[in-house]
Symmetry: C2
């Protein structure tokens, strides 16, 4: 006889509505869905029209009433924002209730506090919907890749910017024009800063890195470049050089050795290089084919090699699918006999080692640089020489668009530390023929 | 205090060696790996050199001794083949031990019997490594997509044939030449039949469909075409028409309605169309970019839309990663207090509805057809008319390669049932100008 599970929903917007719809139409879904009862739903306005019909006594404007309802066993937080979401999550945990949340901002900033409270209360806080929309990525990282030493997690994890970049590449259009269009179509918010400045992607890579490497990631320390100053001519030059431009979030081991110098008993902390930036991706790379609002996350480790997870990065249906996945996981565990506050360590995903971020100057990567220069002979040679003098190895230098207004010289470097690159760039921009660095992007 | 888990390994070949290596080097992996003890290993020959060092008393040539060892809690079957693997799996279940297996042949043929025994013994039989090598696909299907009504599972799930097809497309080479090369490089077996005839892919799609749709799939009823009679000119024509050719395994609902006519209480059985065949994939489709020995599985459902899982489809490391994932899942659950024979229904993944395969003639799909014809005027018109007379709608007809030896006419149809297509083809081949059907492939 299956245990029935009472669900309390905080928020009935796009995602909350999608979750309610799944719970109300269990036919043809996993039979455990039919064991879930949507008991109580907190909304902002009782009289607003809803995408789903709910009994009137199910709705309340008081989210605490949902958390405190004794018939609610699992609290689903899909209201967004830091507060009151964080306080409500903590209240649910204190009441001994497991939590499912799609709130990447809260988890990226308060994940450690929340995880500690959940562990001591013996409840789960599951976050599949916080990253990658419907794509199963949190659960595979927690439950399917544990035998690996993860080397790198990277991906396209913001649908809005990928939509904008895809259209810029296809149409040769300017950022501003595509952004306005995306706003009209509902793919970008009226205030697009969290997306286009890379903050949303930084939240998400902090969460992914924490799971992949087993320790909390200081969200504030992640170098983050968005796409708002990206120029269409760089997208165009990249295309001519057989690259796509993607807003890439990357987290990788930065110990530069094959041995693991961290251990579970409190050994040295694992150094990680984490960043978000517009990045050139070779056209034959699996991430280059990810267009529009789709997301994809690439995980590299030993011995698995390279696996990729691809799908819709946002939207009511996909995100609701991820929320329900988490609810089902909790419901599945609750079919077991009294587990007496014990947690499945894979599903709970508590930290098991310390991680720290290396300085931005210590991050090693390939780079795309566009210089604005005088159109005089020898400029390419001077740039090449300056890079060489500072130990920066170059893959290609190409001159685009020379005219009376000057020349555009694009350089793609081999892998180099940001610190060494900066020294080379200081020497190059000190030359009188060099008018400035017009663009600096990452490059895979 | 973590529970220690004793592991017994049946087989120490490529995959078994990879598993042993992970278990012996837990540093930097999930800390649960360190709680796994490799207790006993069954090998064929005690004196063969091994990729890993094991204590001599750990090895035995008697697999039953591994299964029966009271210190072995989880039996890992990586010996392959139907027998004695099946009997040993059943013996482990009867002894109340959970089983991890990479054996798709056993699971595709005896999965129902094994699942029933496991359910009644209250143990898990986990099979992540049976499909897609290292790619997490079994677990996401079981644990992350349960809120969805799955519409279709399709994919490239045989690395050997994808390697051969990738090289045929890149080099314009013949099947026989590439196969020989693949055999020399170790990408194809000396007897390649299971791979090139599509049998391995049929095993795997039966397993995926069973999980995606919730009911056992009759393995014997899956129409299966391999690549051994594929001609390089069809790969070439496909390329000219902007398609790649992949050995695709597809399982999809065939109820042709949006409502779900199956239910968990024994309602009507869900009709499925399942098949394996060489298939044209449009170059902008996510599966078209999957090259070499990589695999990818696309899952389509409501409300998630379309998600894809991509990665190495074979190899010691990736497959060992999947085996260890399963071991960790069992170890994670065993950290919970006495569950008294109760199983997590998501992880156990028992069947919850009946499924049946529709007749091959009822399968609906797009098709690629190459006709060998006389090079006379009007042949294209006659073919087009005959298709139209039988209700087969055509996307394109293109004539390639006309000469005294005749003409090659390639037709791509819109979606049509195999039954209607066959009637049209009978009418077309009855015409005197038509010398024969030189190729018939699927088309996405």
């Amino acid at each position: 006889m299956a245990t029935r599970i009472g669900i309390g929903l905080l928020g009935l917007g796009t995602v909350g509505g999608g979750v309610a719809e799944i719970l109300q139409t269990p036919d043809g879904r996993h039979p455990l869905v039919a064991d879930l009862d949507l008991v109580r739903v907190a909304v902002r306005d009782l009289n607003r029209p809803r995408p789903v019909e709910l009994p009137a006594d199910c709705l309340t404007t008081n989210p605490e009433a949902v958390v405190d309802d004794p018939n609610v066993h699992v609290v689903v937080e899909v209201m967004g924002g830091i507060e009151p979401a964080r306080t409500l999550i903590m209240r649910a945990i204190a009441a001994g209730k497991s939590v499912v949340t799609a709130n990447k901002a809260v988890i990226a900033r308060h994940g450690e506090e929340i995880a500690a409270a959940a562990a001591s209360a013996g409840v789960y806080v599951l976050i599949e919907a916080a990253v990658g929309g419907g794509i199963p990525i949190i659960e595979p990282l927690k439950q399917s890749l544990g035998g690996n030493r993860i080397q790198r997690v990277s991906g396209i994890i913001n649908g809005t910017t990928n939509y904008i970049l895809s259209r810029m590449a296809q149409e040769g259009a300017d950022y501003d024009a595509v952004l306005r269009d995306a706003q009209e179509l509902g793919y970008a918010e009226a205030d697009p800063a969290a997306d286009v400045d890379g903050l949303d992607a930084a939240d998400k890579i902090a969460i992914l890195a924490g799971l992949a490497f087993g320790g909390p990631i200081p969200r504030g320390g992640i170098p983050t470049d968005g796409i708002s100053s990206l120029q269409s001519r760089d997208v165009d030059y990249a295309t001519q050089l057989d690259y796509g431009v993607k807003l890439l979030a990357v987290a990788e081991r930065a110990d530069n050795t094959d041995t693991d110098n961290a251990d579970r008993d409190g050994g040295p902390s694992l150094p990680l290089a984490v960043r978000v930036q517009p990045t050139l991706v070779p056209l034959d790379h699996p991430l280059a084919g990810v267009h529009g609002v789709n997301n994809a996350i690439l995980v590299e480790g030993d011995p698995i090699g390279r696996v990729m997870f691809y799908g819709p990065g946002a939207g009511a249906g996909p995100t609701a699918s991820a929320v329900v996945a988490d609810i089902l996981n909790i419901a599945g565990i609750q079919q077991l006999n009294d587990t007496d506050g014990q947690l499945d360590p894979l599903l709970a995903a508590s930290s098991w080692r310390a991680c720290h971020l290396v300085e931005s100057s210590a991050i090693r990567q390939r780079n795309y640089l566009r210089f604005h220069t005088d159109d005089t002979p020898g400029v390419i040679g001077q740039i090449g020489t300056s890079f060489g003098d500072h130990g920066v190895s170059i893959q290609s230098i190409v001159q685009f668009d020379a005219s009376d207004a000057g020349a555009e010289i694009v350089v793609i470097t081999h892998e180099v530390s940001n610190g060494n690159l900066d020294k080379a760039l200081a020497a190059i921009t000190a030359r009188p023929e060099i008018r400035g660095i017009a663009a600096h992007l990452g490059c895979l």
